[in-house]
């Protein structure tokens, strides 16, 4: 996937997130892109580390700046006490239309990612994305071991919330496999 195709996928994801009532803040997009790459296997090529609110990619942050510079996204304040939203511009649709093959290849995965995490708040996103990070990067197999790891990494998350998030990740993983199989 080249740079322009990657930006087309991200623009499409932002649109789908908005359609799923996402706040579309940086954290929402970071975590949705993480799900798209790690759960759904879309090769957008980002390097995620455990950082702000769980998995975080500095390269995603760079690409969000690029997308603003190239007129694909606007940074908009929708509520005074929440972070700003990245909203697609009028040019975004025209840009996406330049990449019909890329879009048709990945549309189902993009829709799945947007639907799965689009309308979650920052705290929910932190729990789910970190639980997914543990599932992908540790050798811990059982739910309870992964729950303990999640609480260890993020002490402000309760054991009960960690268990819910870990189970949700397992369910999303199962659903995503079916999606990949269907395609």
């Amino acid at each position: 996937m080249n740079r322009a195709q990657r930006l087309a996928i991200l623009t499409l994801l932002d649109k789908e997130m908005l359609a799923n009532k996402s706040w579309c803040g940086e954290t929402h997009l970071q975590k949705a892109i993480f799900v798209l790459q790690e759960l759904l296997g879309v090769k957008v090529g980002y390097d995620f580390i455990l950082y702000k609110h769980g998995p975080f990619s500095f390269e995603v942050r760079d690409d969000l700046s690029i997308m603003r510079a190239e007129g694909l996204l606007d940074l908009v304040v929708r509520h005074l006490e929440y972070g700003p939203s990245y909203l697609p511009t009028e040019f975004a649709d025209k840009f996406i239309q330049r990449f019909p093959r890329t879009v048709s290849t990945h549309k189902a995965q993009v829709k799945f990612a947007a639907k799965s995490v689009g309308n979650k708040n920052v705290n929910e996103l932190e729990r789910i994305a970190t639980a997914l990070f543990i599932r992908k990067n540790s050798k811990l197999k059982t739910i309870e071991k992964r729950v303990k790891e999640l609480v260890k990494l993020k002490p402000h998350i309760s054991e009960s919330d960690a268990r819910t998030a870990t189970r949700e990740v397992d369910l999303l993983t199962k659903q995503s496999r079916q999606l990949v199989f269907q395609n």
């Binding site: 740079r3 500095f58 006490e81 700003p84 330049r98 990449f99």
Partner: protein, 447 residues
């Protein structure tokens, strides 16, 4: 009587004060090498005053880092909420330890820079290497660890590495919330003191006054605040009274990038320098492998001085490696701007400069064309603001200036001076056709 505090005069901060341990770092070989590493590479060919070095910049970063630390940890700015969030801040011994780590990290943040700083970095180191990785190696090398170990309490080199370079450049290390804030003080997008010092210093030496802003007020108003989006993740933010100085910092950044850092002639000199270095290093007589050395001794031996001697020599000798590029620098026969991207062309193709450069190379030859697309810079990073009524809001919600400053994207195609006239006429005739053809190919969206 032994002196424990030392003062150095500085054009930006008037005095930079350092203690005896910090003085040992100053006297170390890796730090003294920075006396011979230009802050702005060949920018002095456009702005003659811009000959300052990484040495004084690093001292300035240390001075500012200490001031920021003292502001954000002062009793009046540390709330109960903050003590719960970042417990280290409430423990005096830990606070003193981390203040020393921060100032040492600030001193060392640039010690891995190659000759001429950023200009020569890409393509001149082996894959996977960067100046930050070299800085880390030096901080963890015995030349420096000897100093860290002798301090009371001794400093952990890994702490210095994390704070100096930040998480982006040390992805293998994990950061606590407190370490994240400390690294933000140095390398942060919004209020990193590296950025504050280089804007002020580069502005002063280049004579471009746009880079100045009220950094005293800015530093006084910095606070640790919960980041936005309803989370408790702490970030470096500002009290509302400092919003105008934060706007002034963003404007300074905008003007310095447009007037100095991304000045087209500076960009083409960077490119000529890189062309020279690639050929010079490829000769392999100085350093095997065709790149700058990545071992400590090799790194410490190479500065701007060695490169300047080689440049001058290559310019005089037509059979020398890199002669062509050296002549362009020494005799100031730099390439000229043929094309600069614009919104109309961007609507036709996602990378118009690249497309024009390819067509121009095919018409005028590979050696006559250079393409430059520096990294897109986010001019105004968002940050939390504590309003006068106690709420925490995103800066862009209360600042029209920050909202209107979009990231800066630059895209230039350069051509050899003797081909400029022909190429300008050619581009006038062909530009639309080139972009339309490329646009059609892009729409086919082949993998």
């Amino acid at each position: 009587m032994t002196k424990h505090w030392h003062e150095i005069r500085d054009p930006i901060h008037i005095f930079v004060r350092l203690d005896t341990d910090e003085r040992k770092v100053l006297d170390s070989r890796p730090f003294q090498r920075l006396r011979h590493i230009s802050q702005l590479a060949l920018t002095y060919l456009i702005y003659p005053g811009a000959t300052h070095k990484r040495f004084e910049h690093s001292l300035g970063v240390m001075e500012l880092a200490g001031r920021v630390f003292d502001t954000i940890t002062s009793d009046q700015n540390v709330t109960d909420e903050l003590r719960d969030l970042v417990p280290e801040i409430a423990r005096p011994d830990e606070r003193n330890y981390w203040r020393r780590v921060l100032r040492m990290a600030a001193l060392c943040h640039d010690i891995g820079h190659l000759p001429f700083s950023h200009a020569a970095e890409d393509e001149l180191l082996p894959d996977g290497w960067s100046h930050e990785r070299l800085s880390r190696i030096l901080i963890e090398n015995e030349l420096m660890t000897k100093i860290w170990k002798e301090m009371r309490p001794p400093l952990d080199p890994e702490h210095i590495v994390k704070v100096a370079l930040g998480a982006r450049k040390t992805k293998d290390l994990s950061f606590t919330k407190w370490e994240r804030i400390l690294s933000e003080i140095i390398v942060g997008d919004a209020f990193g003191v590296d950025r504050i010092d280089y804007l002020l210093r580069d502005s002063h030496h280049s004579g471009v006054a746009y880079g100045k802003f009220d950094h005293y007020r800015l530093v006084d108003e910095l606070r640790i605040l919960p980041s936005n989006e309803g989370s408790t993740e702490p970030a470096l933010g500002i009290a509302e009274g400092g919003i105008y100085s934060a706007e002034a910092l963003a404007l300074a950044r905008y003007f310095m990038f447009s007037q100095v850092y991304y000045h087209p002639i500076r960009l083409i000199y960077d490119r000529h320098l890189k062309d020279f270095l690639v050929e010079w290093l490829a000769e392999g007589s100085l350093f095997p492998g065709g790149t700058f050395p990545i071992n400590v001794e090799g790194h410490l031996q190479i500065t701007d001085n060695e490169v300047n001697v080689a440049l001058s020599s290559a310019a005089r000798n037509p059979s020398a490696k890199g002669h062509e590029a050296a002549i362009r620098i020494i005799e100031r026969k730099h390439f000229r701007v043929l094309y600069e991207r614009n919104p109309t062309d961007l609507a036709l193709h996602s990378s118009p400069g690249e497309v024009i450069a390819i067509a121009a190379k095919s018409k005028f030859g590979e050696t006559s064309i250079r393409y430059s697309k520096p990294k897109i810079k986010d001019i105004a990073a968002d940050f939390p603001v504590r309003t006068r009524d106690g709420r925490v809001v995103p800066a862009i919600a209360i600042s029209e200036v920050l909202t209107s400053l979009k990231p800066m994207a630059i895209d230039y195609v350069f051509i050899a001076p003797d081909r400029l006239k022909d190429a300008t006429e050619w581009l006038l005739k062909e530009r639309q056709k080139i972009l339309e053809t490329a646009s059609k190919l892009e729409k086919e969206d082949k993998k």
